[in-house]
Amino acid sequence: MVNLLESVLRVVQHAESGYHPVLPGLILLLPLAGFVINGLGAFLWRDSKRIPGIVGPAAIIGAFGIVVANFLAMRGAFPHDPAVVSLWTWMAVGDLSIGVDLQFDQLSILMMLIVTGVSSVIHVYSIGYMREDPGYSRYFSYLNLFVFFMLILVMGANFPIVFVGWEGVGLCSYLLIGFWYENREFASAGKKAFIVNRIGDFGFLVAMFLIFTHFGTLDFVEVFAAAPETLVYAGGVVTLITLLLFLGATGKSAQIPLYVWLPDAMAGPTPVSALIHAATMVTAGVYLVARSGVLFAMAPVSQAVVAAIGAGTALFAATIATQQYDIKKVLAYSTVSQLGYMFLAVGIGAFTAGVFHLMTHAFFKALLFLGSGAVIHAMHHALHQVHRDDDPNDMRNHGGLKNMMPITWATMWIGTVAIAGIFPFAGFFSKDEIIWYTGTYGYVVLWVVSLLAAVLTAAYMTRLMVLTFHGENRTGADAKPHLKEVPAVMWVPLAILAVLSVVGGWIQIPEALPGLPAVDALHHWLEPVMEPARHVMTEHGFHKAYEAPLGGGEATWAIISTVVALIVVILTFRALVHRRYSPAAESEAPTGFAGILYNKWYVDELYDRVIIRPLLALWRGCWRIVDAGLIDGTLDAMASGTRMVGWVGSLLQSGRVAGYMFWFVTGVVIILALLLL
């Protein structure tokens, strides 16, 4: 237990690990303070733009600074065991003891770096993006709160604390999706996100109960250390725990079957989509699986499920993305698809590869979202100037924007190339590693699926770029002159992320690639965290084949994949760039197979028919038939029965004295008889 004040003010001495967390409390306190100040500001100085604009980003950048300091400290000490900082006892009941504990190890530091780093950039971007919104202060308070909870999620040293962050980010997601709550649909989308997430949270909860029942503790360190001895390898318990944890992950990270909320979540402001629904929160599921790597490594069945669902989602979402016209929807499905890759990675046991893709994805997807935000921002202004209410998100209303928005165009191309997996951009290294491991671990079907999804990724991203930036402008002659590049406060973040999207992958360069220095920084960095899981897997006979299913080494396939991606990009570009699109208002909905994809395989409709409506009918039935009908009906019948008996009894009361006399005497006789006989 560490003094709360101490955790905020000083370096906490941690003897066991040799690494001393720097101001651990302050990392959390800064975003929280930002939330409180901005939250009060939403009521007190509603119109001020300056205070929230300074406080919000400053809090996050400050936190980022401390995280960097911690990173440096950890790099120096490179502890083998995590440093756990206990702030206070949260719940101690019987043999259950849960502390508000923060865990500092290589994985959490990496996640903290990603979270605070990307958040800082997006906060700065938001200063420009949200400048004209009346809910400026409220926006920053929510965003700060989100960072607070996200940090709790990645720093928590036990399952319940992670769960606090887990649900907390869900709450912030809910609030930010429905940020423009006056639009009923947007608010609905927030609600949908929350409820779907809750289904996942249910899994998380039950998994915690199971863990506590079998381990008697919920602390990461103890659970993971005890797991190989406590649980049977591939036994029912560990399989159940991991499947339930994965259910939680599918909710938060938008995997089949719970992915449906994420596309709708695009109702929120675009920086929110970038931060929450692309870079950080949705990767929490991947983090959870990676964090519980030991448990997953012990449950091969669960691993297969995770990998299969990951790969399936990757392909499934990619198909939908090819036929969407809303720029943010394309990116949303792209995110679902990329998250699928991450789950594929952690599913096959390549935890580091999953985290690697998580990181690079955070860079390039944040970049792409912010870029799309810049486009929407510009479109919104232009349409606003001419008082038209066309959809600024619809790519059929864009076209040819590269001349008006050159910086956005350039940075977004970098992001596109990165996500397509083309050398030497970040996505190449991370995605290649995943696909390579999938193949070499022997998951042939998943390997093919992941390759297909990679091809589709290149295609739909190129389509997005072409529709938005190339070809003729379809915004309309009146609005076109008003389209212009976004201010520096917005494009500088784009530039930063673009740089990261290029160099982000260089921390992990496979030695097989000819002519390049082999870099193994990430694997080395995460080794202390991932080692136990890897140990379990090798112990039970998981070995790399060192050869892809069709033969050929890693270098061959890396070259093939980058060349294929490049070809797909070029082909798609050439196929689409001359095609004529009509503005959204004049175009018809696609038909045939494209129509099915455009309508997202009708999954929402399916859920509505098969789950939601029958449930609502059942619930109404419970109320009307069981409650009002059966129970109250029975009671009312009893009341009426009583009344009936009373009525029958009242017939005796004829008003005739003779009758009364007779009954009276009869009564006397009966009583006498009872007494005497």
Binding site: A92, I195, V626, D627
Partner: protein
């Protein structure tokens, strides 16, 4: 005043003070009655508050114990005292009541004196129920409580108030009559065994009762408490009573009165009839009914058009959790259950206060009559959201702590039950968020709502304590948990011990009522 709060009389003062205040309300001028009532309830709260610290939490012993003979011939005494469980209940009562009173300041327009006198009478009776350690005294307070509540619903309620009040009264009275019979049987059995007539809790709790007889007596107690809780299927009085009652009535009903059922199980039914209460049949029944309450309550809540009725059904779900935790008979389950009783009192009380506030402005409780009022009532909206999240059980709010402990406690013994109950967290979101969304968000599509004023300073003062407690318990529940720990552990030990020790068959003459000394000739 040195050790006043550790002294014996502080509990009695807590009962007498509201009674005096009640009389003062009747005597006061019409427009002053509310101030008298509020002042009295605040003083009662201030008197009770130090108990939280003076209470020695390491021991399961009864504290602040007073026992004075009252009707000596029948062994009835004025016996009061608190342990960790009743401590929290008393504090909850004194905490909620001032909020309820302050919340009715403008709502109640007619017969104010009588109204506030009733509320204070109710306060005295509620505290009495929680501190009484004599079954006669307990039953007395239990029944006294009915009367003010009946009038509060029946006189100051909504359109169908008479129906609701009568339904409330009949349900509760039927249950408590059976309980009275069971109490008398216990007193008689005690007399048979030890030759002393006594109603004292500490005596009766030692009474060995034959196993088959335990089931009968347990059923009588359980019915009385189950109606109060309320468990499915005896819950239908609750939505009606809540909907028709004025705000303060709903707040106290949800905040405190429902807890009497669960408290009764904990204090009486479990230790008295441990064998019956721990038998698979009873546990199974309670678990199933709790599950039905959790799931079914949530389902029905989700389709309610009336905001107040919705919240009423959520109470059924929440109390289902509590019952499940109590009957799991694990430390976590019971402690979580007790904390959840407090949480539910605060959160649901606050929800009723909030709905009462918009009702005062718009005179409707239908969800569809609102929409978009976050725009015009931002403070209201923020408060409503926080309270709703607490009701959903979001981590960081009090609701999570209770549900988590209950579920984890239950899971260790009955994993399947806890598994099914955990789906309640999904349904909780499914009933609460649509209401939040439809009331607060969207465009303002009704002209009447455009001119709504945000909550006033008084209303903020009413809500603030509840909101603070919601977060405080969510972040740092340990002080509350540690105060109940010893009592709960002792209770579990006692129940387990008595469950095994119960005599197998009844003595031949155990149930001959004609030998009852009060009824017939002593032999």
């Amino acid at each position: 005043m040195d050790n006043f709060f550790e002294s014996h009389w502080v509990l009695s003062l807590l009962i007498i003070l509201p009674l005096a205040g009640s009389v003062a309300c009747l005597a006061a001028r019409e427009e002053l009655a509310r101030h008298v009532a509020f002042g009295t309830s605040v003083i009662a709260f201030l008197i009770s508050l130090p108990l939280f610290w003076t209470f020695r939490s390491g021991t399961a012993a009864i504290q602040n114990y007073v026992s004075v003979p009252w009707i000596e011939a029948w062994g009835i005494g004025y016996t009061v005292g608190i342990d960790g469980i009743s401590l929290l209940m008393v504090l909850l009562t004194t905490f909620v009541t001032p909020l309820a009173i302050l919340g009715s300041y403008t709502y109640i327009q007619r017969n104010q004196r009588a109204y506030y006198a009733m509320l204070l009478l109710l306060l005295a009776a509620m505290i009495g129920v929680f501190v009484a350690l004599d079954l006669f005294l307990f039953f007395l307070f239990w029944e006294i409580m009915l009367i003010p509540m009946y009038f509060i619903i029946g006189v100051w309620g909504g359109k169908r108030r008479i129906y609701a009040a009568v339904k409330f009264f009949l349900f509760t009275a039927i249950g408590s009559l059976l309980m009275l019979v069971a109490i008398l049987v216990m007193v008689y059995l005690y007399y048979r065994q030890f030759g002393i007539i006594t109603f004292a809790y500490n005596d009766l709790v030692q009474l060995p009762i034959a196993r088959d007889l335990q089931f009968v007596l347990f059923a009588a107690f359980a019915l009385a408490f189950a109606i109060k809780v309320p468990l499915f299927p005896v819950h239908t009085w609750l939505p009606d009573a809540h909907v028709e009652a004025p705000t303060a009535g709903s707040v106290i009903l949800a905040g405190v009165l429902l807890k009497m059922g669960t408290y009764g199980f904990l204090r009486f039914a479990l230790p008295f009839f441990s064998h019956a209460a721990t038998s698979p049949a009873v546990i199974g029944t309670v678990m199933v009914l709790s599950l039905i309450g959790i799931i079914y309550g949530a389902w029905v809540a989700a389709v309610q058009p009336d905001a107040k009725k919705l919240v009423a059904y959520t109470s059924i779900a929440h109390l289902g959790f509590v019952m499940m935790g109590l009957f799991a008979l694990t430390t976590q389950g019971i402690q979580g259950g007790i904390l959840q009783m407090v949480n539910h009192g605060i959160s649901t009380g606050a929800l009723f206060l909030l709905i009462g506030m918009v009702y005062e402005r718009r005179h409707t409780r239908m969800i569809e009559d609102f929409g978009g009022i976050a725009k015009v009532m931002p403070v209201f909206a923020a408060s409503f959201l926080l309270v709703a999240l607490s009701s959903i059980g979001l981590p960081g709010t009090n609701g999570f702590i209770g549900e988590f402990l209950i579920l984890i406690g239950t899971f260790q013994k009955y994993p399947v039950v806890a598994f099914i109950a955990a789906t309640g967290v999904i349904f909780a979101a499914a009933y609460m968020l649509p209401m939040v969304q439809r009331m607060l968000y969207g465009e303002i599509d009704r002209e009447e709502n455009r001119a709504l004023s945000d909550i006033t300073l008084r209303e903020r003062v009413v809500l603030a304590p509840a909101l603070i407690m919601i977060v405080l318990i969510g972040v740092y529940p340990q002080p509350f948990l540690s105060r109940t720990a010893a009592s709960v552990d002792a209770l579990i030990d006692q129940v387990e011990l008595r469950a095994v020790a119960a005599p197998v068959v009844a003595g031949a003459s155990d149930l001959r009522f004609d030998r009852m000394p009060i009824l017939g000739a002593d032999e």
